[in-house]
Structure formats: C-alpha cells, structure tokens
C-alpha cells in the first residue's frame, strides 16, 4: 500500500498539464455538483412559486394565456374580506389539522408505548399497523365513502347490531369534517407510531431504572422521564404530520367531491384553491389564496421549528 500510493499519485503528473476547463472545474467543484440540484429547484419550485405570485397580482381568469391586467393587491383584498368561502375554509383547515394531529399524536404515543417492549408476535402486529400507510389516500377516501354511505354502507349496519341508530357520518353538515379527520387519523397514526417508536428505542435506559428504584408509578415515569426525553421526537412527528395534514386534499376530494360537498362542509383552503382554479377558472384569485396558504404553512413551520430549538 505504502509503495503503491505515491506511484498512484504521481501518475497524473506524468501526463500533459491539466487543461484549463479541468482546473476551472476543480476550483468550482461545489457549484458544479450542486448545479443540477439547484437547476431542479429553480425550475420546479422557484419558478412555479414566482409565477403563482405573479398571477395572484393579475385578474387572470378563463385561460391563463388570455389577456390579463395587473391589479396589484386587489385579489388579496377580495380574498381576505371574503367571509363566505375563504375564512370558513381557514377555520376548517385549522380544525381538521388540529383534531387530526391531536388524535394522531395521542393515539400514536399510546400504540408506540405498547409496542416498545418486545413481545411475541411483535413483527406481525407492527406489519398490521403499517397497512393503512401503504394505501393510496384517494383509494382510502373512496373505501371509507362506501363504508360510511348512509343507506348501503357497512358502518351504519354495524351500529344497528348494537341497537344504535344510523349516523350521518359524511353526509351530515356538522359531522362531515370530523369524519374526514378521523379517516386521516386512521390512515396516518401509523406514521406517528413509527417515528415515536424509533425515538423510544433510542432512549437511554438508566433514567428509567433510576426512577424505578425511586418507586415511581408507571404514569410518573412516563410523565417525568420518558416524555421529556422524547419531546424532540414528538416535535418532529408533529412537524412532519402537521405539514402533511394541513395540505390534505385527496381524502377530502375523494369523500365529498368538488367544493367539499353541497354546503362546503369539508372545504379546506386546499380544496377551495383547487375549486377556484379547476372549476371556476379564477386563476388570479386562486393564486392569491395559494400564496396566503403558503405563508400560513411557512409561518406554522417556523413556529414549530423555533419551539423545537428551544426544547433541544
């Protein structure tokens, strides 16, 4: 090895002097390697975002190629004063995300704690829990739509066996949003379980043993030992799942269709923006809604990450 290495290094020195482009490439190595990724980001992220911002400042409608004029912040003013569709949609987005997230984290934590200690058949249980995760959300939505159908669905039939009357589920104006949130919980709790389980298995054992010696109850150990140590992982789970939940579209669209149902029962910001652009062809206003939505997501991400830094 020791003999070969210098010979290996000497090899290029014997050939012709390094050409200009190679020297240039050597000096700009980091840009060269990052270049393709940067171009990718520019084309697929920065350009669409920029174009959306541009459209949001115009009165584009009907066709994006049609004549349009620059109207400044008019669309934003329209959107922010719209108490008919926009603000209710914001409320629903927050309610959907909040409820789904709360249930997912609490349930996810409970399941992760159950799976923490090894037991017989553990592998099978873990595989079964992961099943909902691998299904396509649109298919999940359609499946639940069938199960929850008020007249021919299985859910009401099953309730009937216990003497409980049929529930409106997705068809009720008041129950539809929470029903979709529960479908989201059904599908995505496993992901939270996975993340929390990974966090739990990497925790040190000593603090637990010390707490046991001190004669603590199970709840005390969880509350004062496990949870504080696990907090960074919990925040990661909330962050990942929260961003996903806030932009949920497929489940809502597959269960209630355009406009989130006849009374816009499940119309969140995403469903609203989709309807504005694909149903109404109001590209200017749709873009304004999307820009506001983008800011909401970036803002909530920022709050959560700031919190995470504090914690760690």
């Amino acid at each position: 090895m020791a003999v070969q290495t210098p010979a290996h290094h000497a090899a290029p020195a014997r050939s012709a002097p390094t050409p200009g482009w190679a020297r240039w490439a050597n000096r700009h190595m980091k840009w060269l390697f990052a270049g393709p990724a940067m171009a990718f980001v520019a084309v697929l992220i920065i350009f669409p975002v920029g174009w959306t911002v541009y459209l949001s400042l115009t009165d584009a409608e009907g066709s994006v190629r049609a004549d349009k004029s620059f109207i400044g912040l008019g669309n934003y003013l329209d959107v922010l004063t719209d108490t008919d569709r926009f603000w209710p949609a914001v409320g629903r987005t927050v309610a959907f995300t909040g409820v789904a997230l709360l249930f997912e984290v609490v349930l996810g934590m409970a399941v992760a704690l159950l799976l923490w200690k090894p037991f017989r058949g553990e592998k099978w249980v873990r595989a079964a829990i992961l099943l909902p995760l691998v299904a396509t959300p649109v298919a999940v939505g359609m499946m639940w739509r069938l199960i929850l159908d008020p007249n021919i669905g299985f859910a009401n039939q099953a309730l009937g066996w216990f003497g409980i009357g049929p529930q409106p589920w997705l068809s009720g104006q008041k129950t539809a949003l929470m029903t979709t949130a529960m479908i989201d919980v059904w599908q995505w709790t496993p992901m939270v379980v996975l993340i929390l389980l990974a966090g739990l298995t990497s925790l040190p054992e000593e603090p637990h043993e010390a707490a046991l010696v001190d004669g603590t109850t199970g709840w005390q150990r969880f509350r004062y030992v496990t949870l504080p140590m696990l907090m960074p992982t919990v925040i990661v789970a909330i962050l990942l799942r929260g961003i996903d939940a806030i932009k949920t579209f497929d489940i809502l669209y597959a269960t209630k269709g355009k406009g989130g149902g006849s009374f816009h029962e499940v119309e969140t910001l995403n469903v609203y923006a989709y309807g504005l652009s694909f149903d109404y062809n109001e590209y200017g206003i749709a873009s304004a809604v999307l820009v506001i939505f983008f800011l909401i997501i970036v803002g909530s991400m920022w709050v959560l990450t700031a919190r995470r830094k504090e914690d760690s």
Partner: protein, 424 residues
C-alpha cells in the same frame, strides 16, 4: 408575454386558414381524449376497423368526467399540441372553450363532407356546438330526462299507469313510500351541482327557466320557487332515509337499481344501468315514462351531452377530422345507438333499426322528449360550474328543509351578479 400571445394568435389564424394547412407536419398518429362513457367503450371496439382502413394509428386517453375536465384545463391552458381530438361537453365547457379559442373551426370541414351529411344532425344539438356561426364540434350523444319507475311497486299500490303529471308523481311517491317501509318513493341527484341538470326539467315544466327572455336571472320567480320546493320536497319527504346532499347519478342510480326506490328521474342515456341484470336488481321490473307534466306541460331537457372537437393547437387537424368523420358517420351512430347511446342523427332515429334495441316504453318516452324538449339543462353561461353552484343551492336547501323562498331570493342575487359580470 405579449409576444407569446401574438405568436399563438398568429398560429391560430394560419391554422384557421383552411383544411389544407400543415399537411406536411401531419403525424400518422391521432391522439384522442375520451370520457368514460358507453359511447367510448363501443367506439373502442370498432377502432381496429378504422385503423386498418385509414392507415392511421389512434391513441386513446380515457378519463372520468372531472379528470377529463381538469386535463383540458391544464393542457389547453398551456397551449399543448398533444391533444388532437377532444370529447367535450358543449353545454358545460363549450362557451368557455370557444371564448378561449381552444376549439378549431370545423365549418368548412363539416359542410364540404357531402356523403357524411351534416344536415342530418338535429338542430338543437348542432346549435350547442356552434359558436358565432362557426361549427366547433360534432354532437355525439343526446340526452333527455325521463321517468324511471318500478312496475311491481306501482302494481302493488294499485296504480294503473305511471304518473302523467308532477302532482300525480308526488301523490304516487307518497303512497308507495308509506306502503313500503325501507323503500323510497322518489330518488334523484342531490349534489348541489349534479342535481341542477335533472332539476331543470322540473323547472321548465313548472313554467320557469334559469334565465328569462330578456337575459335576466329568473330563479326567484313563483314557478322557480315551486319547482325548487317540489324537487327538494320529493326527496326530503319521500326520498331515502339519511339522504346525503352529495349524490350524483352513480349514487342515485345505485339506490334505484338496488330496489330501494319507486321513481327516479334521470337522463335516458343511462338506462342500460337499470335494465342490465348484471348491474341492476330491478332489471325485469323497470319501466320508463315521459317526464311528468307540470302547469307548463311536460318539458324535459333535450341536449347534446357530449361532442367531439379538435384542439386549435393540434398540428394534426386533417387526420383528427378523419377520425371524427368516421366516429360520427351514419353507420357508427347507428351502431352506437343500437348499443344504447342516443345519437344526434335524425336519419338514425327515423330508421326502425335505430330504436329497435330500446325498451319500447323508453323509445316512446324519448320521442315525446325530442318533441317538447328544451335545448339546455343548465344556465348557458361561460362560468357554468359557478352558475350551477348558485342555482343549485336552493335545491339542497329544500332537501335539508330550509326556507326555499329565501334561498331562491339569495341565489337570484348571486346569479344576477354573475350574469352582469359576464355581460360587462
């Protein structure tokens, strides 16, 4: 941006110039986008024959209605040339597409094809595919609203014949619902947008319309309020229990074909779903009748629901036209009509073979509809989806038992605002 627009307009103009433009660029592959429909299934079966005789290769993309609409939005907006033939809904998207110049002018093509015979197409459908005296599409499928009913349930209730008037419909639905717990007297679409087309026949028969003769919104007239109350009331009082306000035809049809409803008003073009034993539990007891008459008579809609057009940006217009000419030829329309898809060619309707495969009562009902029918089943505006949501609101309000008159007044204002905006 201006330059790009100028370029597209220029391109559009040259392409409009005549049927012989761009021949050299024509590809041997015609890209056809079609909706999921019985018509599509039939045409796909006949396709090899066309490919053999024309030497062209046909590439078919098939999508659901909503996905198709979204696809057009994206591709036509981007000025994409990779669509040649497009199956589209003249009443839904026709005005928007024509306004945006997405559809090629076919006037010369249809009038110069003598054997193919453009004059054979019914006036109503042709009117819907013509914009500012230019033909932009060829009607494929026509639809009329008819009454689907259950012969066995009527017999059991001692009702001798299907209801002739809307009052009778209401009375019969009430009677059957009362006699048969678990079976609805009446079912129909309940989704805000989806219900509008089927509600339209109720509106016309009660003596109303969405827009009056002077071009003003007319959904708060007495006739309109009565129509809303009637349609919503039928579903609220005699409809399925726990009815949702999201039903389009697949859901409503499922309730009917599962044997859970006595009367169902729907487009005739969907009849095979009810008569096919593989899909329907009531295939042997289903009957058809003309749309029941209201104070203004029986006035169901009679519309072209689908048409074929050519993408203005297509570089393969001549071959696209060859496909359309074949798909809408007399032979193909007849073959399709025999398979249960009502076409727009008069000669096929006059040909006994054209109606031979239809249930007799359905053929009779269609004959009535084509005579008294109204040529639209939704407000004819550019922003159809928005308009449907507005005029559909009182329907769902009626179904959920809210104040119909107040809802109609509110919808009237919103609808008038939309019309004003479009006429600016």
């Amino acid at each position: 941006m201006a330059a790009a627009l100028a370029a597209t307009t220029a391109l559009g103009l040259t392409a409009c110039g005549g049927s012989d433009s761009g021949d050299s660029a024509d590809s041997k592959t015609v890209r056809v986008t079609l909706a999921n429909h019985v018509w599509t299934e039939n045409i796909k079966k006949a396709l090899p024959e066309f490919e053999k005789s024309s030497g062209l290769k046909v590439e078919i993309t098939q999508l659901g209605e909503d996905q198709l609409s979204d696809q057009y939005n994206v591709k036509l907006n981007a000025g994409s040339s990779d669509l040649d033939v497009m199956m589209y809904r003249p009443l839904q998207e026709g005005k928007l597409f024509a306004k945006n110049k997405y559809l090629a002018d076919l006037t010369d093509k249809v009038t110069s094809a003598k054997d193919w015979n453009w004059d054979d197409f019914q006036d109503g459908p042709v009117g819907a595919t013509t914009f500012k005296d230019k033909v932009v599409g060829v009607p494929l499928i026509t639809e009329q609203e008819v009454l689907y009913y259950r012969k066995d349930l009527l017999k059991k209730a001692g009702i001798a014949q299907p209801p002739q008037t809307l009052d009778e419909l209401k009375a019969d639905a009430a009677k059957i619902a009362q006699q048969n717990p678990g079976i609805a007297g009446f079912v129909a679409r309940t989704g805000k947008s989806a219900a509008v087309t089927q509600f339209s026949s109720f509106l016309y028969s009660m003596g109303g319309d969405f827009i009056d003769d002077s071009g003003k919104a007319a959904i708060n007239t007495d006739a309109a309020k009565k129509a809303y109350a009637l349609y919503g009331g039928l579903i609220k009082n005699y409809g399925p229990k726990n009815v949702s306000t999201d039903m389009s035809w697949p859901e409503a049809m499922a309730i009917f074909t599962q044997g859970k409803a006595a009367f169902y008003t729907e487009a005739d073009s969907l009849y095979a779903n009810a008569t096919d034993p593989a899909k329907s539990k009531v295939s042997d007891t289903v009957g058809f009748a003309p749309f029941p008459a209201g104070p203004a008579g029986s006035k169901p809609y009679n519309v072209p629901s689908w048409a074929l057009g050519i993408n203005e940006q297509s570089k393969n217009k001549d071959n696209a036209w060859k496909f359309i000419k074949w798909a809408t030829s007399k032979e193909m329309v007849l073959a399709n009509q025999k398979a249960g898809v009502p076409g727009a060619r008069q000669s096929v309707w006059e040909n006994p073979e054209g109606t031979a495969t239809y249930p007799k009562d359905l053929a009779a009902a269609i004959a009535v509809s084509t005579k008294n029918g109204v040529g639209h089943d939704r407000p004819l505006v550019i922003k159809v989806p928005e308009a449907r949501e507005i005029v559909g609101q009182p329907i769902v309000d009626a179904i959920t038992g809210q104040d119909v008159a107040a809802s109609a007044e509110k919808a009237q204002q919103a609808f008038q605002a939309l019309l004003d905006d479009e006429n600016k």
